[in-house]
């Protein structure tokens, strides 16, 4: 395929990062590159990193948008620490991202953008292309803008529109380096611009031009071959966490035979869930874009009363606004799934960055004794599984479930093995029977404390629910002291009983040893990689990664018992560790915390774990 006689270098996994101005189309470029990798059989994980502003000032560090993809020939758990190839469209994006490139990485730079004014605006004191600061890197100085212009010469299109395609030039270079087929990218372009055939032609032409340019560059001595991954056979697709969440809930609704209702208000980084549901009316999904977060959840509570699998999706500030209503769902004992895509806080915080700092809010952030089931997804693709599980637990246990994901999972993507609906577990909501003479709104199953779900319209079951405390069994309003205590205890026990119907906690590695690494939710990939790497070095280290937060799996304490040291790693100041201390106070816990709006890196985790292990052995 290539003109030069390049050698082919085989690599097990590679990390690539595309960076540029937020209007440069880096998210799209990264997505198309990932799709091509997936199509070629690699497993992968992606991580988009973009500013909160739609178009921050051009050529400034504040406006840099990035997209990282990690792909390889084995199961890929995280988007990777440092990149092997960095594509930077301007000086600002190079300056902001060089620290994320490996020593000796290949840097593909649009030299046309390295003008004095842009270099200065990026905050450089001298031109990095000339001052030696890039020594040691494999720098490809590509005149991307000039060659894009040249490529489209003579085409009847205005220069401004045409220059938007320069990201395709960069993508073409990358396609050359990794020997990718144009198929998926062409298909995407044809579909996206189907009403603008000229734009399709421009983009395809520029993509090819980038590829051909790479073929002439002396510095590109080799093409990189990443063999197809050896992962479970089956049909796959690429999925972001937010789409997986929406689909998992739709699957839950179908499996339960209940219509889906979503009441939501747009909020970064959860908005795609609302958008995704609104596309699926053909599946009977009713989507209500509410006037605010409170109307989002309270409309869902109304829909739950009327028999829907009711869902509201939000991010931290929205969860705060929904607190009172979650209490209403708890006391009315209606099924409800609250998806909280965590972002940096407090307040508006870091809207486009990721954090795990809403855990205590999810567990305790309500007035009164108000227990809710809390789950946390661990990867972009298993957002599907945990969303499905949240539906199952809400519907079968008649209580709200808070599903925690985060901005990193939500916007990141992974390969997703397509399940067959018939193989997913059954979901059987405890529906009351029409004209059941013995029906009482708060009569409970004696084992599980679950009450029956009677829907408006059903004959012989009329009843009232509400925020006031109710008499046991009859559901009439009550302020009786002993009754209140009893009802509080029932609601708590009902949630704790869920522990009987969830899987036991797994440990990756030996069941005892020097160090147990504990993590939860979206940080699984990096922690798992770090632990695995140390295990490969023969260290006595194991990993327990939690998804079931409330209730905790029944065997949690048995796991803690087996280790000399326990370190709890979280992207917050130590919330899960507090929760473990409350539940299992007899153990001592070390912590590793990071609150920078960024995921853990494998490197920093390994350093921390080694320090602990050296303390143990030394």
């Amino acid at each position: 395929m290539t003109a030069k006689d390049n050698k082919v270098v085989e690599r097990k996994d590679v990390v690539v990062k595309f960076v540029g101005d937020s209007g440069d189309g880096m998210q799209l470029t990264g997505t198309l590159f990932s799709d091509a990798a997936a199509y070629a059989g690699n497993d992968l994980a992606t991580f988009p990193d973009y500013p909160a502003e739609i178009r921050a000032p051009q050529n400034t560090v504040a406006g840099v948008s990035g997209f990282q993809v990690h792909f390889g020939d084995k199961k890929i758990h995280s988007s990777g620490d440092l990149c092997d190839v960095l594509v930077a469209m301007n000086p600002a994006s190079l300056r902001a991202n060089l620290k994320w490139a490996k020593k000796g990485a290949t840097l593909i730079l649009d030299v046309d953008s390295f003008l004095d004014k842009y270099i200065e605006r990026a905050g450089y004191e001298s031109n990095p292309l000339e001052d030696g600061s890039l020594d040691g890197y494999n720098v490809i100085k590509a005149p991307v803008t000039t060659l894009t212009k040249k490529t489209i010469e003579g085409m009847k299109i205005d220069m401004k529109t045409a220059l938007k395609s320069k990201n395709m030039f960069a993508l073409g270079i990358m396609f050359y380096i990794f020997n990718r087929s144009f198929d998926t990218a062409f298909r995407f372009i044809e579909n996206k611009f189907r009403t603008k055939p000229l734009v399709v032609e421009v983009n395809k032409k520029v993509l090819r031009a980038g590829y051909n340019y790479a073929d002439t560059v002396e510095e590109l001595q080799s093409v990189i071959q990443v063999p197809a991954a050896r992962i479970a056979k089956g049909r796959y697709r690429n999925m972001t966490g937010n789409i997986a969440t929406a689909w998992g809930l739709l699957a839950g609704a179908e499996k339960a035979g209940r219509p889906l209702f979503l009441g939501s208000y747009p909020i970064t980084p959860a908005t795609e869930i609302l958008q995704e549901f609104s596309r699926h009316k053909s599946l009977g999904a009713k989507v209500f874009q509410a006037e605010d977060e409170i109307a989002g959840i309270t409309s869902a509570i109304g829909a739950a009363f009327a028999g829907s699998l009711a869902v509201t999706s939000t991010s931290g500030p929205g969860l705060s606004l929904k607190s009172e209503a979650i209490g209403l769902a708890i006391i009315t004992e209606l099924p409800l799934v609250i998806v909280n895509v965590q972002r940096g806080g407090p307040s508006t915080g870091l809207p486009t960055k990721s954090e795990q700092a809403d855990l205590l809010q999810a567990l305790y952030g309500r007035n009164g004794e108000a227990p809710a089931i809390v789950l946390a997804a661990t990867s972009s693709s298993d957002c599907f599984d945990y969303a499905f599980e949240a539906s199952r637990l809400a519907l079968e246990h008649m209580t709200p479930v808070i599903l925690l994901t985060d901005g990193y999972l939500a916007n990141g993507s992974q390969l997703f093995k397509i399940p067959e609906m018939k193989n997913l577990p059954e979901i059987k909501p405890p529906l009351a029977q029409q004209n059941d003479e013995h029906y009482q709104p708060y009569k409970r199953d004696p084992e599980t404390y679950i009450r029956k779900w009677a829907l408006p319209g059903m004959e012989g079951l009329r009843h009232r629910l509400g925020g006031l405390e109710k008499w046991d069994v009859t559901g009439n309003v009550s302020t009786d002291p002993e009754n209140h205590q009893k009802m509080v205890e029932y609601r708590e026990k009902k949630v704790q009983k869920v522990a009987d119907r969830i899987p036991e906690q797994e440990v990756m590695g030996e069941a005892s040893g020097d160090l147990l690494v504990v993590s939860w939710g979206g940080s699984k990939g990096a922690v798992l990689n770090a632990v695995t790497a140390l295990q490969d070095e023969g260290k006595s280290i194991s990993h327990a990664h939690f998804s079931y937060i409330n209730p905790l799996p029944k065997n949690t304490e048995d796991i803690l018992k087996g280790f000399k040291h326990i370190v709890v790693c979280e992207l917050n100041m130590g919330q899960f560790v507090k929760y473990l201390k409350i539940n299992f106070p007899h153990y001592s816990y070390l912590q590793y915390n990071k609150v920078q709006g960024l995921p853990f890196t494998e490197g920093e985790l390994k350093t921390k774990f080694n320090q602990i292990l050296e303390g143990v052995t030394g």
């Binding site: 997936a38 199509y39 059989g41 298909r187 197809a228 991954a229 992962i231 479970a232 056979k233 089956g234 049909r235 796959y236 697709r237 689909w247 739709l250 699957a251 179908e254 009441g263 009316k281 053909s282 599946l283 009977g284 009713k286 209500f288 509410a290 006037e291 605010d292 409170i294 109307a295 309270t298 409309s299 869902a300 109304g302 829909a303 739950a304 009363f305 009327a306 028999g307 009711a310 009172e324 209490g327 209403l328 009315t332 397509i418 399940p419 609906m421 829907l455 408006p456 319209g457 059903m458 004959e459 012989g460 079951l461 009329r462 009843h463 009232r464 509400g466 925020g467 009439n476 309003v477």
Partner: protein, 344 residues
């Protein structure tokens, strides 16, 4: 239209079918008792299956209402009745959904939900009890309390301009607005029935007396001695006449302003009076009528505005039906396998 999808009761129902066995705990003399009785009379008249009535409320004295009706119901949280009712109606359009709320619940803490419910025109019947005071918290001023009024939180008189619910409804592109008084059950049942028959959001403001914290606040409009001269009950197609001897009326002058006139004075005859057209899509006259207030003008009661417009619930149903008919994605397996997928 929407109404017809609500299943009808096979056997005729009576008010006993809707009476609750729970003790009604409103104060003796509270206007709420009369409203409850009126609703119990209206429900059987509408003819829907008794299981298909759902009563939703927020917080406040009025919002205890669902507990006193034998229907499906939710006593919600403060201000959120409109959103809860929205969820109920969208999830199951075959329900006759009634929302019970007050001036604090819907015009203060729930103001946002209230205006958006009206704007969306979802087929929900709203009974807004307006007693111009916070009753359940014992006497603080509300968004409808007249300016200058002395209450527990305005010991020197309120310095706020009150909302007029009718103005708010019409400003939010409301399709149905009616006003009744707790002292006139006949009028209340008539307008509640009209509200139920209207496709879309129906707002019924009921001037209700809080006997403990704001007694006689609507006295001029409601008391036997003064009401005839201070209330005008409008009827569609009828001239706007009122007064003890039916001698007064409303007249639209050349400057497009309403005037109160007397029949027989200055050559005014009944023919010169305004004739009520509740179906007029132009809301400007409805807005004028909704804002009239004694002593300069009579307060206008009855159905002030009732116009046809698409309802949110009907349009949602249509979109879903269309997609179900035309989309290639019929179930989750279809969705999971749609778009770019590949074997590995």
């Amino acid at each position: 239209m929407t109404e017809n999808t609500i299943p009808k009761s096979i056997k005729p129902l009576t008010k006993e079918d809707f009476e609750s066995d729970q003790m009604v705990k409103w104060c003796p003399g509270c206007g709420d008792h009369a409203i409850l009785k009126s609703v119990e009379k209206v429900f059987p008249k509408l003819g829907y299956k008794k299981e298909n009535y759902t009563v939703i409320s927020g917080i406040g004295c009025s919002s205890r209402f669902p507990y006193y009706m034998n229907t499906y119901g939710i006593h919600g949280i403060h201000g959120r009745a409109a959103a809860i009712a929205t969820g109920v109606k969208l999830a199951n359009p075959e329900l006759s959904v009634w929302m019970i709320t007050g001036d604090g619940d819907s015009l203060a803490i729930g103001g946002n939900h209230f205006i958006h419910l009206v704007r969306r025109n979802i087929d929900i019947n709203v009974l807004l009890f307006n007693n111009q005071i916070y009753g359940l918290t014992k006497g603080q001023y509300s968004p409808t309390t007249p300016k200058g009024k002395i209450t527990k939180t305005s010991p020197h008189g309120t310095i706020e301009h009150p909302f007029n619910p009718g103005e708010l409804v019409i400003g939010s592109r409301g399709t149905f607005f009616a006003r009744g008084v707790d002292m006139n059950p006949k009028l209340m049942t008539a307008i509640m029935e009209e509200a139920a028959r209207h496709d879309g959001t129906s707002i019924v403001e009921i001037l209700q007396n809080c006997v403990i914290y704001n007694d006689k606040t609507h006295q001029l409009i409601t008391s036997k001695e003064t009401r005839d001269d201070n209330q005008l009950i409008v009827e569609h197609g009828k001239p706007m006449i009122f007064g003890k001897n039916k001698e007064k009326g409303l007249y639209l002058n050349d400057s497009n302003r309403l005037e109160m006139v007397k029949i027989g004075e200055n050559g005014i005859t009944e023919e010169d009076l305004l004739v009520h057209d509740m179906h007029d899509p132009d809301s400007s006259l409805h807005l004028k009528l909704a804002t009239l207030y004694p002593p300069e003008f009579p307060a206008v009661l009855g159905v002030i505005r009732s116009v046809k417009a698409d309802t949110y619930d009907d349009l949602l149903k249509e979109q879903i039906a269309y997609e179900q008919e035309n989309s290639p994605i019929k179930n989750m397996d279809d969705l999971l396998n749609s778009g770019d997928t590949w074997e590995m």
